[in-house]
Amino acid sequence: MAHDQMKILVGEDSSIIINLTKSVLAFENYSLKAARNGKQVLEMLAEEDFDLILMDITMPQMDGIQCTKEIRKLADPKKNSIPIIAISGNAANHTPEDFRKFGFDDFIQKPLNYDLVLATVKKILS
């Protein structure tokens, strides 16, 4: 826990995963805010700076892929270069190359293994 408290935004429509992720990341001294769909992710990112986004692919209104494409088009270089980790329940439908093309920095497959989630977050933020 040597890092200053870093701010993570999670785009996820399941309150169960939000609560669990919040608790696990808080245990490691990260602060986490949650958006329930891609549109909300964009709104929250417009108002606040984050160090990382955990983005579920399957979300109502605007999915994680579309939202990531929108983020990469933002004018603010700090916002458009934010690291984004995809979380996908259908990762078999996409190759790692696909995720990179969509604009993600990394991806984690569901069901989530929180040791892997933490390791990936630490790797990206290091």
Partner: protein
């Protein structure tokens, strides 16, 4: 009332009525006289056995047979009927997924026994190869312990309680003989992911099977999976109640 999940596809009216009468003694059945009607029926109803004449006028047989198997799901049995058994390439039909090819004209008593034995065989297969194996743990303790290591017992306990509430809400919306709406399918997908993350293994396997059957429009497979899913929900709820403090203790 039992649903009509045996379908007779026969274009000759007299024969169709005879099959209806004979099979009707065993099980409620539906009948149609064209391949197109058969596909429509199968697309909208869970069908466990299709009895069909191999010589349908309105559709290319091969496409029809392939579509039938695709729509019905792997657990559905296809039984062919032909008046030219000598000239029919039976191994070819087996390779398409036909369980049997029977000769017409049929002998009623033999025919009934044959259909009955096929249905019994199907039941036994289901028991032998359940969608959710009994040996799977209700909760994977390793996953639970991993979560405990990364959070607090209070939080994890609450997550499991919220999860089962979410499952029970979904359970009320699931109708076994009806393919789910897109919204319900999304809820099944969420339960599939969450159950895997939380180590609720039986729920995870049943949700995965339900989602897959629904996406492929396999109504009878969906109905079976939903049955297992509801049982898995009930078992998980019972499990949480049994271990009020620490799971698996």
């Amino acid at each position: 009332m039992k649903s009509k999940n045996i379908l007779i596809v026969e274009n000759k009216e007299q024969e169709r009525k005879l099959f209806e009468y004979l099979i009707g003694q065993l099980h409620p059945c539906a009948s149609v006289d064209t391949g197109e009607d058969a596909l429509n029926y199968i697309a909208q109803n869970p069908v466990r056995l299709v009895l069909l004449t191999l010589h349908l006028a309105d559709l290319e047989s091969l496409d029809f047979f392939k579509n039938t198997k695709k729509l019905c799901g792997e657990s559905c049995m296809l039984v062919g009927l032909t008046s030219n058994l000598q000239q029919v390439n039976v191994p070819f039909y087996h390779s398409l997924g036909f369980e049997e090819v029977l000769s017409k004209p049929i002998r009623p008593k033999e025919f009934i026994l044959k259909i009955q034995s096929l249905l019994e065989k199907q039941e036994k297969e289901k028991i032998k190869n359940p969608i959710v194996p009994e040996s799977l743990p209700i909760l994977n303790i390793e996953v639970y312990q991993q979560l405990l290591r990364l959070s607090t017992q209070e939080v994890i306990r609450q997550v499991y309680v919220d999860f089962i509430q979410e499952c029970l809400s979904l359970s009320e919306l699931l109708i076994p003989n009806e393919l789910p709406s897109e919204e319900i399918l999304r809820a099944i997908h969420t339960i599939k992911g969450n159950s895997g993350t939380l180590g609720a293994e039986k729920i995870h396997v049943a949700a995965k099977s339900s989602e897959s059957a629904a996406r492929q429009q396999k109504s009878i497979d969906f109905a079976e999976s939903v049955h297992y899913l509801k049982v898995a929900f009930a078992e998980f709820q019972e499990y949480l109640n049994k271990y009020p403090n620490e799971y698996g203790a």
